[in-house]
């Protein structure tokens, strides 16, 4: 059954405020979720103000600035700062996205930043994605074949290669899965948009010879069919992909195969 509210230890309280000392023209406020395992406090929301004329254009620039200049304990994942590693996925202004590709100017007023929704929190904006990675592993996202290894490589025509367009670009940032209410309510049974997109990527791969077995594995009341086409996944994907479409493709394969 869906738990619509947060458990007692997860209720978010009002936190500290770090206003700018001098008024400036390009002031921007950031309300950021904080939680640390080192004390027994509930999570809280801290409020930071920064001068945008001394900051880069992206939300990631802003939180790095806050970490460097205001509160060095602010914790988040980041690496490539160009939308390819998927580390800085978080909930910004109510929608999951990558902090490094989200422009500060896109948000009017203060910017609310939370960790990816409905996940155990390791610290501040860092969620524990163990379950997410386990599910990815469970769809066996690698090439599986029955025929003998060819002498050179496994060939694929241009046309066949195009069949995995819109899926191979996935960077596994978890924005889609953690945006999905179905995934929130049954993270143990429903595989979630990201894992299913990956599953479909291998189902559609012309070189893979385990299509039927892959479909058998997915043919379950919850793994695929918990998708209600709410469309949060496609709307939040920072790479512009559509896990919803991939899931519909899997359902179609399941319904039409003999």
């Amino acid at each position: 059954m869906a738990e619509l509210t947060l458990p007692q230890n997860s209720k978010v309280q009002k936190g500290k405020e770090y206003p700018l000392e001098n008024e400036c023209e390009n002031k921007k406020g950031f309300s950021i979720y904080r939680w640390s395992p080192d004390d027994d406090e509930n999570p809280r929301t801290d409020y930071f103000e920064i001068d945008l004329s001394k900051c880069g254009p992206m939300v990631l620039d802003a939180i790095i600035k806050i970490k460097n200049e205001i509160d060095p304990t602010l914790t988040f994942r980041r690496s490539c700062r160009e939308g390819i590693c998927g580390s800085c996925a978080m909930n910004i202004d109510g929608v999951n996205t990558l902090a490094c590709t989200k422009s500060i100017d896109d948000v009017k007023g203060d910017i609310r930043i939370n960790p990816l929704p409905h996940q155990p929190v390791v610290k501040d904006l860092v969620p524990d994605l163990t379950n997410f990675y386990e599910q990815h592993k469970s769809v066996q996202p690698w090439l599986k074949t029955k025929t003998d290894q060819p002498e050179k490589e496994w060939y694929q025509s241009k046309e066949d290669r195009e069949k995995v367009d819109g899926m191979y670009e996935c960077i596994m940032c978890a924005c889609c899965s953690t945006s999905c209410p179905s995934y929130w309510w049954s993270p143990d049974k429903y595989l979630g948009p990201a894992a299913l997109l990956q599953a479909n990527r291998w189902i559609k791969d012309s070189r893979d010879e385990f299509k039927e077995e892959r479909l058998d594995e997915l043919d379950d009341a919850f793994k695929v069919y918990s998708c209600r086409t709410i469309m949060n996944c496609a709307k939040s994907c920072p790479k512009g992909l559509s896990p919803a479409k991939a899931i519909a493709d899997i359902k179609k394969e399941l319904a039409t195969r003999k």
Binding site: P120, V122, D128, P181
Partner: protein, 129 residues
Amino acid sequence: MANKNKIDTIERPMSPHLQVYKISFTMMMSMMHRVSGFVLYLGSFLFLAWYISIFFGQESYNFVNQLFSFSIIKFALFLFTWVFFHHLFGGIRHFIWDFGLGFDLNSVEWLARLTALFSFLSASLLWLL
């Protein structure tokens, strides 16, 4: 202060979800589809009451009809027809999706709008006739 750095033993908070996620129109429509399905189930008892009243003869039939003509109950019946059409058109929307069509973000938005619009129009039309 206890050392809680062992990942497995810490009681971790759950990050906020419904509390912070921006509610989109398609999210609303999905909820409405679920709710309307449930209301349809409840509303079918009204029809049952109507049929059963026929079984008990003219008098009880008139009584139920009278009950249904109260404006507040009439309004509830109107809502029920709206819910009926909402679920019907929502079903058609899902049927289109089952063919793997209409998944780009524009179509998704339009399908949702059309479902809302047509459900309201159909319900109104039925009551005007």
